[in-house]
Subunit: 315 residues, 2 copies
Amino acid sequence: MNAAPLFARVALIGLGLIGSSVARAVRQLGLADELVATDASPQVRARAAEIGLADRIADDNAAAVKDADLVIACVPVGACAAVAQSIAPHLKPGAIVSDVGSVKAAVLRAMAPELPPHTHFIPAHPVAGTEDSGPDAGFAELFINRWCILTPPAGADAAAVERLAEFWRRLGANVEVMTAEHHDLVLAVTSHLPHLIAYTIVGTADELEDVTRSEVLKFSAGGFRDFTRIAASDPTMWRDVFLNNKEAVLEMLGAFQEDLSKLTRAIRRGDGEALFDHFTRTRAIRRGIVSIGQDAAGPDFGRPHGPLPKTEGEG
Amino acid sequence: MNAAPLFARVALIGLGLIGSSVARAVRQLGLADELVATDASPQVRARAAEIGLADRIADDNAAAVKDADLVIACVPVGACAAVAQSIAPHLKPGAIVSDVGSVKAAVLRAMAPELPPHTHFIPAHPVAGTEDSGPDAGFAELFINRWCILTPPAGADAAAVERLAEFWRRLGANVEVMTAEHHDLVLAVTSHLPHLIAYTIVGTADELEDVTRSEVLKFSAGGFRDFTRIAASDPTMWRDVFLNNKEAVLEMLGAFQEDLSKLTRAIRRGDGEALFDHFTRTRAIRRGIVSIGQDAAGPDFGRPHGPLPKTEGEG
């Protein structure tokens, strides 16, 4: 392991869950001589200064990126173009510019044309998160054993790609490189479609006539609560994801709808064999995820189950 | 708290996740003078004897229920009628007979006509579970702070209902009483529909042409993995749930489909405002579930995030 900082100056734009997690990890690991950060919100900047997220909190994007060797935009996908415009004139030659967006082709289209040719633009997506948002929600360990996907455009500088890959590896992530288009297809199924479905079902449950909201909450341990975590994710981020990965999401939705129709038909016809076969197959996939370390192996997501109530006089 | 056992003899039929959890809790809490258990599978009976799940493992249902004051069928819903037939001639007068099925009206229809009038049939549903199955998967704490819904038929003996309620309270559960029909509607939305959707999406992801299964597993932390836990639940149990709560599930599916169409249309039209409004609303529901203690408050379902890798020479 190398003890020297990877970058002289790192600049983070946006201090939500991801930005503030990167900030904490960079400081804990000493990956930068100086960490500069900023956020569009004055409240967030004040809070970041208060809890010491960076060596310096800059007032705006231009000031933040000055002399930075690595700039990471940790903002919703829809804000990426404006960030690129605001930083372009202030970037140091040779600087690496990246992002953390959940959609990559749209980010590439939005940011690449704005950035000067003497910089290296390498989009990235750390596949990690929780349902919490804001500068207090981040933690340095968020990226450990998670994947970070880099989608360098054709002709990207190999040394710059490797430096950014090394940065994410230091944060604990496993790095994978693919095209932006393939990324968007993979994430449409592993992330975007699940979020859309979860958002839908949680909304459906909240609007029923015969079942009250209080009943839905009370009896949520039967399965519903597993959907509510992802349906509690940041609304702005997710609005932008769906607006910017429309084609892939609609394609996956089409496949999902076909499969749902098949299962619905099996229920309507009382076809127990078709249901049993389907449910047996999906079980294997869960085991695959646990075996490669992408989820906790403990039952119930490792949720705590407290001790039994003490009964007096018990043996 | 009462130190005396609640029942002289308790009999459990079926030692899967739920049955073996009840067994462990009954023994730990000393709720029965004698706990007798059985299972249709000789392998499960042998394993249960080996790990000491009950005071006595009976070879069949008839032997298990002899002289029992409380009999609980912990079997898939589809097996309830056969269990009722097999135990009916052997039940002690005044015995309470119950079950743990996730569907209640069908269980009532299947079991009630088989049972002798000198017994008290009180269907029950502990809303608790994990994705694991079998006699080794159970644990005594499974029901703590979870709901157990009783659906006594009209005219049920109030004292028997109260004794069964007390039994579940001792196991740590909160007890609620409602009609079988209302139960089936509430669970259709909080449990059955979420399972059907999870089973569907996990199957969809496994059949894509352009995204490999290995990619789906690798990048599952983006949301997909939250669906895989419930899509790993016991296939037999879930087949029976859908076959036996068809009407309510199809009704909820209809509402879900309408809502999904609305969100799909918003994506297709690029209607960011509609998406944002929906996503903001669903966030509040998650908070409600955490605030009433039906899920862990820790981010990411409290999933562990290990320490950062040590870098030599770090400050």
